[in-house]
Amino acid sequence: MLNCLLFEESLPDAQPAVVTRNQTVNWAALREQAQRVFSIQDALGKRRVGLSFRPVAESYAALAALDRLACDVFLLDANLPFEVALSLSKRLKLGALLTTGRSGQSSEFDVHELSDEAKWSGSSSVTILTSGSTGEPKAARHSWESMARPVRKGAGNHAPKWLLTYRPNLYAGLQVMLQCFADRGTLVVPDLHMDPQSTVQLMYDTGVQFVSATPSYWRRLLMFSDAELLKRVPLVQITLGGEVIDQSILDRLRQYFPPTRLVHIYATTELGRCFSVSDGKAGFPASYLNTVQPGAAELKVYEGELLVRSPNSMRMYDPLSSEQSASDWFPTGDMVEIKDGRVYFVGRKSDMINVAGSKVFPVEVERVIRVIPGVLDVRVFGKTSSIAGELVACEIVANPDQDREALKEVVVRTCRAQLNSQQQPRLIKLVDRIDLSSAGKTLRTRTS
């Protein structure tokens, strides 16, 4: 798939393909790099190859070349220390690991040959290593065909400019790249950990039209950047995904960008893209459940959890990683409730807090706190209690000109009025910032 996109003759050669703050690589240069890797690395053909992956033209070119060489490619986060990447590659029984030169600027790759390589799968594939919430990464293998199936080519978008907000080596980041490249567009890549104001400046300077991001990512941009500049970014479409999408973020984006198309999408690394909603409302129509349509994912709810059977799903967990292959119906771990013909997400099963036997979802509590004036950001999580199992704890980022003690009291009072005793946060801490995971999601790690 990717090799078809990059090796073609009829590319818009002079147009930018990948743009970062300091560098612009046009389509001709991208193709040339891919061709160079293809010819230099032909010994890697039909093998299991790890690729240390950064959101730069060199990495995309190498990925296309390895696709053309029919490799089983395993994408490793380039932020992993070399020793960790190497030992992971050995555990996955890869034949070689490709890393970029130490300076990070060189377009030449270092090839580290490894012994004890497992068998090639028989066709070109790409394996995504998800961090999982803890421990050993899961290796989800996709065929390029299943990866590319959600891509809608052409749809009237001439050379669209996409902002890459996701990690380039994970499912969402690969989808954005494939969609952008399929339309011969320009991928605009902010630096890792770029501050919101600089990101918005980059969006404005490059004329970004399409953004796919988590609600947490958007909340950060809305909070910490110049609203007038942000409103001048010529956005055509905003795609939300990766987290529970609540009505308040949809409404705020609608208010900022009245003519922009707002879509939210449901996809996971294992299942690929399942469905999308574009009516500007949270949740999705209950009519999506229990229906079979050709080429579409089937959905059902079992004991409050969304189960999916998807044609875009991965082929398998790599047999050498710890997980078994995916069964027919896949439990998503996302809990839902159905109200008035609409299915709403209430949170991850694993984020559920067990307070003296009652289930509390962080999102339900965050929703109440987030709308309190003076609250910029909030994170709710479980705190281990020797008496109650867990208690609800929260961290809040306050507006800088806000009296912190007074805000705490308002939070307590509001939660008491709107939440039951189990849901009320018992521990409230004011913090300077709340970190997002590498997938751009609010972290809900428990503390003990």
Binding site: V355, A356, S386, I387, A388, L391, R413, R416, L427
Partner: protein, 79 residues
């Protein structure tokens, strides 16, 4: 009788909890009988976590059972 350090700490933590619940605070002393305060078990769980933050100790973490009637019975567990 002068309250011990841990008695004072527990009184402070309980007053905080009463305030957060929007209740007027009763007079608290070492002789106060805890289950007559009208607090729920989650309030008690909250007090134990707050005391752990202050003292670094959680006497309930071992799963041991204690005979606790008064505020001073609770306070000695932190001594």
């Amino acid at each position: 009788m002068i309250a011990t350090d841990n008695q004072s700490r527990i009184i402070e933590v309980l007053l905080e909890i009463f305030k957060a619940k929007g209740l007027s605070s009763p007079a608290l002393s070492s002789e106060t009988v805890l289950d007559q305060l009208g607090l729920e078990s989650l309030d008690f769980a909250q007090a134990v976590i707050r005391m752990e933050e202050i003292t670094g100790k959680d006497p309930f973490a071992t799963g041991a059972e204690y005979q606790i009637k008064t505020l001073s019975d609770l306070a000695v567990l932190y001594d």
